[in-house]
């Protein structure tokens, strides 16, 4: 993997001046991903924040081939692009060079409406990296809950009131779903950029499908100041709410990439975020307890799978 000095000389393949909100992690993530891409990148993007802020006629933030078609089908479209790459290379109509084919979607387009297409792409073994920038809700349409919204979080479709305290369910485990297909699967965070870039490089050199879920803190939806994005991402890994790990060898090899020396309580991660404000009101202690219990359960399971406990 390239050094920071080398990386600083590489051309940014997504320009500045996107219409993302101040403090949005998505362009940071995309920049890191594209800097790490070992070959010419081609992007297939699902409908979502990233698309709507980077490709509005007559402007485009992309200096590389970019295609958006719809919300649920980035993986299916990418399957077609990969099919074309194979066919055209075989027929000698495309130069025999490596292409880093990357499909990108938010958690709505990944965990929910796009899940079927992702499953199909992974099962058929297309050589494509699917990246989810996971901000834990439908941020583009105004902060509605998704299959990735954490337990208890406030969203505009999981309100906090007398009868209900935020989202009722825990997150879907996308990494295990992807790993169950035999794909290379990993969690990554923009605050650990070196780990993120190493995983992207590995995935794109992998002779098969891969899936990386990247936590993408969202100041608007998570209700924290725009300057705190990377700090929030750091707290998520320190509290093991968003652990960094990877799954290889057809789901057999699990590696935890970061084990905090002093694992923080989830409250440290929750406190700075307005979406969890109600966790700290009297009478709602059970919310913290349940989230802590589930976080610990998942973390311990992960350590066990990785042979660390």
């Amino acid at each position: 993997m390239a050094t920071l000095k080398e990386l600083s000389t590489r051309e940014a393949k997504i320009t500045g001046g996107t219409r993302t909100c101040a403090g949005c992690a998505a362009p940071i993530i995309v920049r890191q991903v594209l800097l790490a891409a070992p070959h010419c990148p081609v992007i297939v993007n699902a409908t979502g924040c990233l698309y709507i802020t980077t490709a509005i006629i007559p402007y485009s933030s992309w200096r590389i081939p970019y295609y958006h078609s719809a919300f649920e089908n980035a993986a299916a479209v990418a399957s077609g692009v990969e099919g074309a790459i194979r066919a055209l290379k075989r027929k000698g109509r495309l130069a025999d060079q490596e292409i880093s084919l990357i499909a990108v979607g938010g958690d709505g387009g990944t965990y929910d409406i796009g899940l079927q297409a992702i499953s199909g792409m992974l099962e058929r073994g297309h050589r494509c990296l699917y990246i989810c920038y996971d901000n834990g809700a439908y941020m583009n349409t105004g902060i509605q809950r998704s299959g990735s919204t954490p337990f208890g979080a406030w969203t505009t479709t999981s309100h906090v009131g007398e009868a209900q305290k935020g989202k009722q369910q825990h997150q879907k485990d996308m990494i295990r779903i992807a790993a169950a297909h035999g794909a290379y699967a990993a969690n990554a965070s923009p605050h650990r950029w070196r780990d993120l870039m190493r995983k992207v490089e590995k995935a794109l050199n992998h002779q098969g499908p891969s899936f990386i879920n990247i936590q993408s803190p969202c100041p608007r939806g998570w209700r924290y100041p725009a300057s705190e994005t990377i700090e929030i991402a750091r707290l998520a890994t320190e509290a093991c709410v968003f652990p960094l790990y990877e799954v290889e060898e057809q789901g057999e090899k699990w590696t935890v990439n970061y084990i905090p020396k002093n694992k923080l309580p989830v409250t440290e991660y929750l406190k700075p975020q307005g979406r969890f404000e109600h966790f700290f009101r009297p009478g709602n202690e059970h919310l913290i307890e349940e989230l802590q219990a589930e976080t610990d359960r998942r973390w311990n399971r992960l350590l066990k799978l990785a042979g660390k406990s």
Binding site: P65, A76, G80, G120
Partner: protein, 379 residues
């Protein structure tokens, strides 16, 4: 499809289209085609993968039917708006509910506003010829639009009919090399495809697409003419039969056109001035050709295997009516819905339509505009 040897085919099985995909899978297995065959997990993904491969500069085909086409609906618009020249064969089948695997044309009529070119075939031979023509039409530099080749489920898809094949070389020469205008894989000239448009741009984009579809009409006719000159089989965008001196006529499309022609011949033997008009090109709709063919007819009926609940009549009826009115043709026009869900439409039933038309022609009075052929309990 074997002779076309597309670069990419992505498809999902659905009755009665399955035969096409199964047969093509055999060709793939035998190495008779050099196609990348992607067996996707749904029709939505089939057309999505086709969009990806077509955008990437690969000649792309797929096939579907009924519920599968309905599942593609969202993507049909995107395919056309992104100007991706995909050729899709649709085996016409009824839509649920109740579930029914047999033929009618409600499925593709439901996609009429998606911006695809739609061609309806009468015979197995026509399906074969039209599919080859479809590649040329879709990829024409001034068209660049997806083409739907429609054929009646089971009636054509599972029939035994004599078929004259062209040689592989003839097909290859006719369709030529694919020269994509959109190429996502041209890494030296990166493009952004499928960007969003705010109100100040959206309207113009949609108009440009609509304009291209309208202009495609003459290209469809030209490709058919060239095909006819080369191989001796041409169909036109509409096909009038014994209509020049006809007083009554039935307008239809697909396999019903052949049965209707048979009825016309029998009626002519009885001295009845009957004619018929087959509409091959449904989108873009050939307004002038339809009106010109019907200009001397007193009464006509549009016979179609489709239903448009709540509308004055199904899609073809509305279009023909609009065409006549637009061109100042005064024929009395009625609608006949027939054959839904695969119900047989025999010559004797079509004969009854002509009898009805004769009454209208004689009295000059339309008793009922929307009619249902061979429907139990219909008053």
């Amino acid at each position: 499809m074997r002779q076309i040897d597309p670069d990419v085919v992505a498809a999902y099985p659905i009755t009665p289209q399955t035969e096409i995909v199964e047969k093509f899978a055999e060709y793939v297995a035998e190495g008779l085609v050099n196609t990348e065959f992607i067996c996707v997990e749904s029709e939505h993904s089939a057309i999505s993968a086709c969009c990806g491969s077509s955008a990437a500069g690969a000649r792309t085909m797929t096939a579907t039917s009924s519920q599968g086409l309905a599942l593609m609906h969202e993507m049909l618009y995107i395919t056309a708006a992104n100007r991706l020249p995909i050729v899709m064969i649709n085996v016409n089948r009824a839509l649920s509910a109740p579930l029914n695997i047999h033929n009618d044309q409600s499925d593709t009529f439901g996609s009429r506003d998606a911006g695809w070119i739609q061609l309806y075939c009468e015979s197995v031979q026509e399906v074969y010829d039209t599919t080859i023509q479809g590649i040329r039409i879709a990829e024409h530099p001034e068209v660049q639009l997806p083409v739907m080749v429609c054929l009646d489920g089971f009636i054509l898809s599972h029939s035994m009919e004599r078929l004259e094949l062209l040689s592989d070389t003839e097909v290859k020469d006719f369709i030529g090399e694919f020269r994509p205008r959109t190429n996502l894989l041209d890494l030296t000239k990166p493009i952004t495809l499928g960007a969003a448009a705010m109100p100040e741009y959206y309207f113009e984009h949609r108009y440009a697409q609509s304009y291209a579809l309208d202009r495609a009409l003459e290209k469809v006719a030209a490709v058919d003419q060239e095909f006819g000159t080369k191989f001796g089989r041409g169909y036109g965008i509409v096909e009038a039969y014994r209509i020049d001196d006809a007083e009554v006529a039935v307008i239809t499309l697909g396999s019903l056109a052949g049965t209707t022609r048979f009825v016309v011949d029998r009626l002519r033997e009885e001295g009845i001035r009957a004619g018929s008009l087959k509409i091959k090109l449904f989108r873009p709709f050939p307004v002038e050709a339809v009106a010109a063919a019907l200009k001397n007819v007193k009464a006509a009926a549009v016979l179609e295997k489709a239903i448009s609940p709540g509308a004055p009549g199904p899609a073809l009826f509305s279009d023909v009516l609009g065409a006549l009115y637009h061109q100042g043709v005064k024929a009395s026009l009625i609608s006949y819905v027939a054959g839904l869900g695969g119900r047989d439409v025999p010559p004797k039933s079509i004969t009854r339509i002509y009898n009805h038309l004769q009454q209208i022609a004689e009295t000059g009075r339309i008793d009922r505009i929307l009619n249902y052929l061979d429907l139990r309990g219909w008053q």
